[in-house]
C-alpha cells in the first residue's frame, strides 16, 4: 500500500494485525510465554505421566537447564549474527569441537594459557577463511561454511594422530566454569552474561551491528552508502569463529572428555534456536535475546523427551517436528519469515 492515509492511521489497524506487528517487533515476549508454558507442561503433564506425581521446580533443575543452554545459545549467536546478513555458519559446531580438542590435548604439552590461545586462534583462522570466501570470493555462506567445516573436520582427524599419545588435560578453570555453581546458578553465567550483553550491544548500538542488518536488508543500498561489504563479512565470520571456539572451550569444561564429535551435535539445534528466536534466514531481521530463549526452549523440550524415555530415533524426529511447528506458528502470528 502506498497510500499515505494508511500509514497515518497505521496505529488503528485491526487488533490482530497490531498484535502481529507488535510480536514481530518484540519476538521475545511470546517466546518467553511459550517457554513458561513448556515448563508447566513438563511438571504437570509429562512428570505425572512418567512418575505418577507432579514435579517441583527445583533449583537443581533450573541450574541444569541454564547450564546446558549456555553453549547452545553461544553457538546460536554465531547463527544470529551471520543470518542477519542472510548467511549462516555451519562450521560453528566443528570449530567448537576443534577448540575443545586442541585445548585439551595441548594443555599437557605447552601449558594452559598457550593451549587456550591456540584453540581460539583456530576459531579465528576458520572464521577468516569463511569471511574471505563469503565476502571476497562471494561463495554462498551455506556452501562456504559447509566446505570449511568439512576441511576442518579432516584436519582435526589428522591432528589427532599426532597427539594420540600425549593424553588430555581439561584446564581447571574451564571445569569450574562448566560445572561449578555459585549461589545455585551455573558458573557459566560468569562468561555468558557479559558475552550476551556484548552481543546485544553490538547488534543494537554499534555501527558494525547496523551494517549487519543493512547487508541483510539490501546489500546494494549498503554499497551505495559506501559500505565495503567484504570488510564486514570478514569481521563477521571471524567473530563467529571466535564465539564458536569460546563456546567449545566452555563445553569442554562441562563435558570434561574431549572427543572428535564433542560439540558437533549442537550445530543444528543452534540454527533452530536462532530461527525459533525470530531470526530470519533471509537476513535483515533477528534478535539474540530471542535466540537465548530459543535455546532454553530447545533444552526444555529435550529434557521432556528424555524423561519420556523415547527411543533415540523418535526423539530426533519429534524434535524436528516441534521446531517446524513452533516456526510455522510464529510465522503465522507475525506474518514474517
Amino acid at each position: 500500500m502506498s497510500d499515505t492515509r494508511i500509514h497515518a492511521e497505521a496505529a488503528e489497524e485491526r487488533g490482530l494485525v497490531r498484535l502481529g506487528r507488535f510480536l514481530r517487533d518484540n519476538p521475545v515476549i511470546p517466546l518467553i510465554f511459550f517457554l513458561i508454558l513448556l515448563i508447566f507442561a513438563h511438571f504437570y503433564i509429562v512428570m505425572p505421566v512418567r512418575t505418577g506425581r507432579t514435579g517441583a521446580l527445583s533449583a537443581f533443575w533450573v541450574n541444569n537447564l541454564i547450564k546446558f543452554a549456555i553453549p547452545l545459545a553461544m553457538l546460536a549467536a554465531c547463527q544470529v549474527l551471520t543470518m542477519l546478513t542472510a548467511g549462516i555458519d555451519l562450521s560453528a559446531g566443528i570449530v567448537a569441537t576443534i577448540a575443545a580438542f586442541v585445548c585439551a590435548t595441548l594443555s599437557p604439552l605447552i601449558g594452559v594459557p598457550g593451549a587456550v590461545a591456540i584453540a581460539m586462534a583456530c576459531g579465528v583462522v576458520v572464521g577468516l577463511v569463511n569471511g574471505f570466501g563469503v565476502g571476497v570470493v562471494r561463495v554462498h555462506p551455506l556452501i562456504m561454511t559447509l566446505g570449511t567445516g568439512l576441511i576442518a573436520t579432516g584436519c582435526l582427524q589428522v591432528y589427532q594422530r599426532f597427539v594420540i599419545s600425549t593424553g588430555t588435560l581439561v584446564p581447571e578453570f574451564l571445569v569450574w566454569l562448566g560445572t561449578g555453581r555459585t549461589a545455585g546458578l551455573p558458573n557459566g553465567l560468569f562468561l555468558f552474561l557479559p558475552f550476551a550483553a556484548f552481543i546485544l550491544w553490538l547488534m543494537r548500538f554499534t555501527g558494525f551491528g547496523r551494517l549487519l542488518f543493512a547487508l541483510g536488508s539490501n546489500e546494494n543500498a549498503a554499497k551505495l552508502s559506501g559500505v565495503k561489504s567484504w570488510q564486514v563479512f570478514l569481521a563477521l565470520y571471524a567473530l563467529s569463529g571466535v564465539i564458536a571456539a569460546l563456546a567449545g572451550l566452555l563445553y569442554l569444561g562441562m563435558i570434561r572428555t574431549p572427543s572428535l564429535q564433542l560439540a558437533n551435535p549442537l550445530l543444528l539445534p543452534s540454527v533452530a534456536a536462532a530461527v525459533i528466536g525470530g531470526t530470519s534466514i533471509f537476513g535483515g531481521r533477528g534478535s539474540f535475546a530471542g535466540a537465548i530463549v530459543g535455546a532454553l526452549i530447545l533444552r526444555v523440550i529435550d529434557t521432556m523427551l528424555t524423561l519420556l524415555q523415547m527411543p533415540e530415533g523418535a526423539r530426533i524426529a519429534l524434535f524436528g517436528l516441534i521446531i517446524l511447528l513452533v516456526t510455522a506458528l510464529y510465522v503465522r502470528i507475525t506474518g514474517s519469515r
Binding site: S2, E9, A10, N218, A222, S225, G226
Partner: protein, 496 residues
C-alpha cells in the same frame, strides 16, 4: 434495460475498501464506454492503486459494484478478471525471466501470430521467440507485455504507467496502437503521470482524491490545469520556473569529465560541473546516461577518458571512494537504495557507519540531530513510524535524498529523482535541489521528463548515442528545443 447511453464496458460504482480502520477508498467510480480511453488520475495516496487492484480482481471491495459489460464481474482473482474481459498491463513486467518468449506465451495461452503482429506494430524489430526474457531490455519487456495483452483481445485494457520506461519513439508507437485499439471499440483505462500523453491519447479523465472520485472530465485544451486542481484540491502551477537570478559559474569546476567512455555504450562524454550549479542531463532512454552515472558514483570503471574532482584525477573502484571525494548518488530505482524493512532513521543514517573507523558505538545524539534535520528539510511524512516500506513512493524517494542531506552534500548525482512520484512531491524536490546548489553544492540532475529541466537546472548537457552533443542554457530552453536536442537533431551543429 434501455439506457440512454451505450452500455458501458466497465462500470464501477460506489467502490469502498478499508484496511482495518483505514479507509483507502470511500466512494470510487469509473465508467469506460466502448471506444473510450479514460485516464485514471490521482496523486500518491489518493487510493489509485487500491482501486486498480479492485477493478482487476486482486482485492475484493467492501461495498460497491464492478460491472463488466453489464454483468457483475466475478472478480475473485486476476485470472477471472482476465476471463471476464479485463486485461491489465502493470508497471512491473509480468514475464518470467528464466523462460523464453515462446514459453511465456504458452503459459498465458496467448496466440502467437497476433502477438508477433502487435510486437512489430509496436516498433520492436527482430524479436525471436527463443530469446530468454532475462536477456531482453526493460523497454522491450514492456512492449511484449502490451502486445500480449492486446493479443488476448480484451474488452477493457488497463495500462499502468505504460510509457514510464520507454524511449520516446516507442512511446509514440504505443500511443498510436492504444488509440487504434480504442477506435476498434475497446475500452482503455490509462494510468499515467504524464500530462502530455494523456492530452494526446485520452478522451476523458477520472480523478481520485482521498479515496473518492472527485471528477470526470473531457480532455480538451486547458484540462491539465483542471485535473491538477482536482487532484490536489488546490490550484497549483507546474509549468513555471520560479524567477531566479541567473547563476554564473566561476572558479574551478568541482567535477570535470573529459572524453569519458564506457564500452560499448558511452564513447565521448565531457562536461564541467561547477559548485553552486545544477547541471541537467537530457537524454532519451539508454543513450549512456546510466553508465555515466555509474562511473561517477563508483559502481563501474570507465574504459576511457579522465575524471577530475576539484582538479585531482580520480578513478573509483567502489562507491566508498566516490563518497570520500564528495560524490553522492541517488539512483533512479528506490528499491536499489533503501532497506525496506528498516526504519527511516536507519536508512538515512546508513552512510554514518560505512567506514571501518565508524564501526564502533553509534553517536546517538549527533545522529538523531542530523536525521531530524534531513527529515524536516525534506518534509518527509514520518507519521508511519517504523519500516520504510510503509511510506509512500514520494516519501521513500525523499528518504534516499535525505540520506545525503544528513551526510552532507558536496556533489549530488540525482538520477531521475522524480520518477513515478506525485506532483506535490515533485514540486518540493525542485526548490530543494535549487537550495542545495545555492548553498554551494554541485548537482548533476538527469531527468526523463523534459519539462523539469527549466524548473530545476541552470544548464543541461544533452547526451545522444553515448556522446555529449550539446550544452544548453536550461532557464530559457523550451521543451521543444530540448526534445530536438535529445533526438540528436542538433548534432550537425555541435559537430561543426
Amino acid at each position: 434495460m434501455s439506457r440512454t447511453e451505450p452500455q458501458a464496458l466497465l462500470d464501477a460504482t460506489g467502490v469502498a475498501k478499508s484496511f482495518g480502520a483505514v479507509r483507502a477508498l470511500t466512494d470510487a467510480s469509473l465508467h469506460v464506454s466502448p471506444g473510450e480511453v479514460v485516464a485514471l488520475m490521482g496523486a500518491n495516496g489518493a487510493g489509485k492503486s487500491t482501486f486498480v487492484k479492485i477493478i482487476t480482481g486482486a482485492l475484493r471491495p467492501d461495498a460497491g459494484t464492478v460491472l463488466i459489460r453489464g454483468k457483475p464481474a466475478q472478480v475473485g482473482s486476476p485470472a477471472q478478471a482476465r476471463r471476464s474481459g479485463l486485461v491489465p498491463v502493470y508497471q512491473e513486467p509480468s514475464l518470467i525471466p528464466d523462460l523464453d518468449v515462446a514459453d511465456n506465451l504458452r503459459l498465458g495461452d496467448t496466440p502467437v501470430e497476433p502477438f508477433r503482429h502487435w510486437v512489430s506494430e509496436l516498433g520492436i524489430e527482430g524479436l525471436r521467440l527463443d530469446h530468454m526474457i532475462a536477456d531482453l531490455p526493460l523497454a522491450t519487456l514492456r512492449i511484449l507485455d502490451l502486445a500480449r495483452a492486446i493479443a488476448a483481445e480484451p474488452d477493457v485494457l488497463m495500462l499502468d504507467e505504460m510509457t514510464a520506461a520507454l524511449p520516446t519513439d516507442l512511446v509514440e508507437k504505443v500511443l498510436k496502437t492504444v488509440r487504434g485499439q480504442a477506435d476498434e471499440g475497446r475500452g482503455v483505462i490509462y494510468i499515467s503521470h504524464r500530462f502530455t500523453e494523456i492530452q494526446e491519447l485520452c478522451d476523458s479523465a477520472t480523478v481520485l482524491r482521498d479515496g473518492r472520485t472527485v471528477g470526470d472530465l473531457k480532455i480538451e485544451a486547458g484540462a491539465e490545469e483542471q485535473v491538477v486542481e482536482l487532484m490536489l484540491g488546490a490550484k497549483i502551477d507546474l509549468g513555471k520556473a520560479a524567477a531566479r537570478a541567473r547563476h554564473v559559474n566561476e572558479g574551478a569546476p568541482r567535477l570535470s569529465a573529459r572524453g569519458l567512455a564506457v564500452a560499448p555504450k558511452v564513447t565521448d562524454v565531457s562536461f564541467d560541473l561547477y559548485p553552486g550549479e545544477v547541471l541537467g542531463v537530457v537524454a532519451l532512454e539508454g543513450q549512456g546516461q546510466d553508465e555515466v552515472f555509474e562511473v561517477l558514483s563508483g559502481f563501474r570503471k570507465a574504459t576511457g577518458g579522465t575524471l577530475e574532482v576539484d582538479g585531482d584525477a580520480v578513478s573509483f573502484n567502489h562507491p566508498s571512494q566516490a563518497i570520500a571525494k564528495g560524490l553522492t548518488f541517488v539512483p533512479g530505482d528506490r528499491a536499489e537504495a533503501l532497506m525496506r524493512e528498516r526504519s527511516v532513521r536507519e536508512n538515512i543514517a546508513l552512510p554514518f557507519s560505512a567506514r571501518l573507523r565508524d564501526w564502533g558505538p553509534l553517536k546517538g545524539r549527533q545522529e538523531r540531530a542530523r536525521v531530524a534535520h534531513a527529515i524536516e528539510k525534506l518534509q518527509i511524512d514520518t507519521r508511519a513510524q517504523g519500516e520504510v516500506q510503509r511510506l509512500s513512493g514520494g516519501n521513500q524517494q525523499k528518504v534516499t535524498i535525505g540520506r545525503w542531506l544528513a551526510h552532507g552534500v558536496e556533489t549530488l548525482l540525482l538520477f531521475d529523482p522524480t520518477r513515478g512520484i506525485d506532483v506535490r512531491t515533485k514540486r518540493q524536490i525542485y526548490p530543494l535541489v535549487r537550495e542545495l546548489a545555492e548553498q554551494g553544492a554541485a548537482v548533476l540532475y538527469y531527468t526523463s521528463e523534459l519539462e523539469e529541466v527549466p524548473l530545476a537546472c541552470d544548464r543541461a548537457v544533452v547526451i545522444f548515442n553515448g556522446r555529449v552533443v550539446d550544452v544548453v542554457d536550461a532557464a530559457d530552453a523550451d521543451e521543444q528545443t530540448l526534445m530536438r536536442a535529445a533526438y540528436g537533431l542538433t548534432e550537425a551543429k555541435a559537430a561543426s
